[in-house]
């Protein structure tokens, strides 16, 4: 079974994001970048499938500037077999990403595509679903458990009311939730082996996809700073404030 995993280069989750002074976006100068945590879970799941003998080859694909190679190398160090970077300096929105991934899907013909449920920079939670729709593949989103049985894959999904398990025919799209697994640390020997694994560079034009942003960012702002709370003397005052000031009861 061949597995395709999509990974995204995003601002490191430990970094406190700062908004650009002109409110056009997040300031990325000199900011540490890393692999999106949900993508890391996706890579880990693919590597586990390979260790179980279910997957035979893991291909990692990323879309972004040339430096996004770092995230592909990290995936290779975690255990993926080869990488593809679709190189572009343009902004890539969910639909464009899904179209690019569809092109890679058609070329690579994997049996399973695993993606993070969303990236922590734009929090769209769209690409996996769009890819499934564009390719006509069944989808198992927010996976907390993945079990492959022959040419079927059972995906346990985390939904508001609890868990739901869906059975999908392969090829299928899976998007990972936080509790699917705990990604490993890349070991030193594997990091050194990763250097020798193939990494192919391509571009949206090579894949016949034209990037057309469908959304325009109007303004990016910091969240409002929290105001200090107050102390109330008794329950009566609290109820009064809730009724008349906060107007919640």
């Amino acid at each position: 079974m061949k597995v395709l995993v999509a990974v995204k280069r995003v601002i490191d989750y430990n970094v406190k994001a700062r908004v650009k002074p002109d409110n056009t976006g997040v300031d990325l100068t000199n900011v540490k970048m890393a692999m999106n945590p949900f993508c890391e879970i996706a890579v880990e799941e693919a590597v586990r499938l390979k260790e179980k003998g279910v997957a035979s080859e893991i291909v990692v694909v990323s879309i972004g500037p040339k430096v996004a190679q770092e995230q592909i190398r990290t995936s290779l160090a975690l255990g993926a077999d080869r990488g593809i970077l679709i190189e572009t300096d343009e902004e890539v929105q969910s639909l464009d990403a899904a179209k690019l991934l569809k092109a890679v899907f058609e070329k690579e013909q994997p049996n399973l595509v695993i993606l993070g449920k969303q990236s922590i920079d734009s929090d769209n939670n769209q690409t996996g679903q769009m890819l499934a729709a564009l390719t006509g593949m069944p989808q198992g989103t927010f996976a907390s458990e993945v079990a492959v049985e022959g040419d079927k894959v059972n995906v346990t999904r985390e939904i508001d009311g609890g868990l739901v398990t869906v059975a999908l025919n392969t090829p299928a799209v899976i998007t990972t939730d936080l509790r699917l697994n705990e990604p490993r640390y890349a070991s030193l020997p594997n990091i050194m082996k990763a250097k020798k694994k193939p990494l192919e560079l391509t571009s949206p034009a090579d894949l016949g996809v034209e990037l057309k942003p469908s959304l325009t960012t109007l303004k990016v702002e910091e969240p409002a700073t929290r105001q200090a709370g107050i102390k109330v003397a008794d329950v009566a005052e609290l109820v009064d404030k809730l009724k008349n000031e906060a107007k919640v009861i």
């Binding site: 190398r73 070991s187 020997p189 990091i191």
Partner: protein, 438 residues
């Protein structure tokens, strides 16, 4: 505000000086000259700079600076492999080592789970070449420094424990004969994924006043079938756990050498010692009483250089101090921004801010001296002077940063709820210990 503008302008002219366009137009020297002159001039025209700075910024901002790889630039960035190793170990350090550091300090040992996880990372396999089970064609001192630094950022005691085996493996890789590598190095690497892994350590320090590694009293006397080892070593990390030791001892003609000593040999007695810091490193005292060593116990052949060995040991301790100092800096910055007194964060007080700024400056100098020594070592250039300077600076500043860390936390620095008191205790070891190797 003026500072920011000047900063922007400086960065713009520097970017211009470094842009690939400049190379193409053969303007490298003139451009660097501009950068130099304008940097100097920049400070002189600070007051009237504002409007011009904006213009300069628009004019000088090169269209593309990301792929900047000008060969003539003084480049301090890490290689892709080094960055990957550092990223992976930094995470391991903050998610695994740091949370267990307090417990390990209390227990005076790191848990088996930590050793096992570290073994899975294959630290000891880094330097070894493929024929001995490793993966490295060109082991680098600098990469070893980065490894030590990352681990010590989690906890210096645990780092010291984990690095003992790595250090022994590094020393065997660098100095050992082919037979020694096959019989001592390969088994360590092969055992990394087994439940019962092999451990090793290096014993240099001796219990005497004003100890220096070039005045050893531990000695060997050649015998018909090998050597007889006598003496006393102290502050040997994981001394009790190690399956074999590399022991520094002096030969009858006064030459200091290293000997590979199986810790199960007759005449060796190991006593755990209880120390102020580095508790998780399980420091031990070891007595050697007429220990009979085989002929091939002498590490390496004529290639062994004791001075270089000590220089590399010193660099390892520099790396530990840098990792720990970084942890202190990050901790006090957060603390002083959050802790309020007189209605504002204490970082607004100059006496606090200056202290933190000094930690930043000192830490950067420790970094640069250490990296420079390591990079000279990797290039095969003499690096004794650089390693020595780094060691003196790091020993000195490690203690100062440790003390200041505690000071900045005020009363909180004194209690065990915050890790700074532990870091302070650990930092005292930098100036006095030797038993590691990068």
């Amino acid at each position: 505000m003026a500072k920011d503008k000047i900063g922007m302008a400086l960065s713009a002219v520097n970017k211009f000086a470094g842009s690939p366009l400049v190379n193409k137009l053969k303007l490298r020297k003139p451009a660097e000259k501009i950068a130099y002159v304008s940097t100097r001039a920049g400070f002189q025209v600070l007051s009237s700079a504002n409007a011009k700075v904006q213009q300069a910024k628009d004019f000088f901002t090169p269209p593309e600076t990301k792929d900047l790889q000008g060969a003539e630039l003084f480049d301090l960035s890490l290689s892709e492999e080094q960055q990957l190793i550092k990223d992976s170990l930094d995470r391991f350090s903050s998610e695994v080592i740091r949370p267990s550091a307090h417990q390990a300090d209390n227990d005076e040992q790191a848990s088996d789970a930590i050793y096992q996880q570290a073994n899975e990372l294959g630290l000891a396999a880094y330097s070894a070449s493929e024929e001995y089970g490793g993966y490295s064609d060109t082991p680098s001192v600098l990469t070893n420094i980065l490894i030590a630094e990352s681990l010590a950022n989690g906890d210096m005691g645990i780092a010291c424990a984990l690095l003992s085996t790595v250090s022994a493996a590094n020393a065997l890789t660098r100095w050992g004969t082919e037979e020694q590598k096959t019989s001592w190095l390969t088994p360590i690497i092969k055992s990394l994924d087994k439940p019962q892994a092999l451990y090793a350590t290096i014993a240099i320090n001796e219990p005497m006043p004003l100890f220096t590694p070039d005045r050893l009293t531990t000695n060997v006397i050649p015998t018909n079938d090998g050597y007889k080892l006598n003496g006393k070593k102290t502050a040997v990390a994981i001394g009790d756990k190690a399956d074999f030791l590399l022991v520094a001892a002096v030969t009858p003609n006064g030459q200091p050498k290293l000997f590979i000593v199986n810790s199960a040999l007759k005449g060796i007695s190991i006593t755990p010692s209880h120390n102020m810091g580095l508790k998780a490193a399980e420091l031990c005292s070891i007595d050697f009483d007429n220990v009979q060593l085989p002929e091939d116990a002498l590490l390496g052949d004529d290639n062994f250089c004791y001075q270089t060995f000590i220089d590399l040991a010193n660099l390892a301790w520099c790396a530990l101090s840098i990792g720990c100092a970084q942890a202190i800096q990050d901790y006090v910055v957060n603390y002083c921004n959050e802790r309020t007194a007189f209605g504002e964060p204490i970082s607004h007080r100059q006496s606090v801010a200056f202290m933190i700024a000094n930690i930043g400056i000192e830490l950067e100098s420790m970094h640069l001296l250490t990296y420079r020594a390591a990079s000279r070592a990797d290039q095969g250039l003499p690096f004794h002077r650089e390693a020595y300077l780094a060691k003196v600076l790091c020993s000195d500043k490690a203690m100062e940063i440790g003390t200041n860390g505690v000071q900045l936390l005020g009363g909180h620095g004194f209690i065990k709820d915050h890790p700074v008191e532990r870091w302070y205790r650990d930092m005292r070891a930098i100036a006095i210990l030797y038993g590691l190797h990068v």
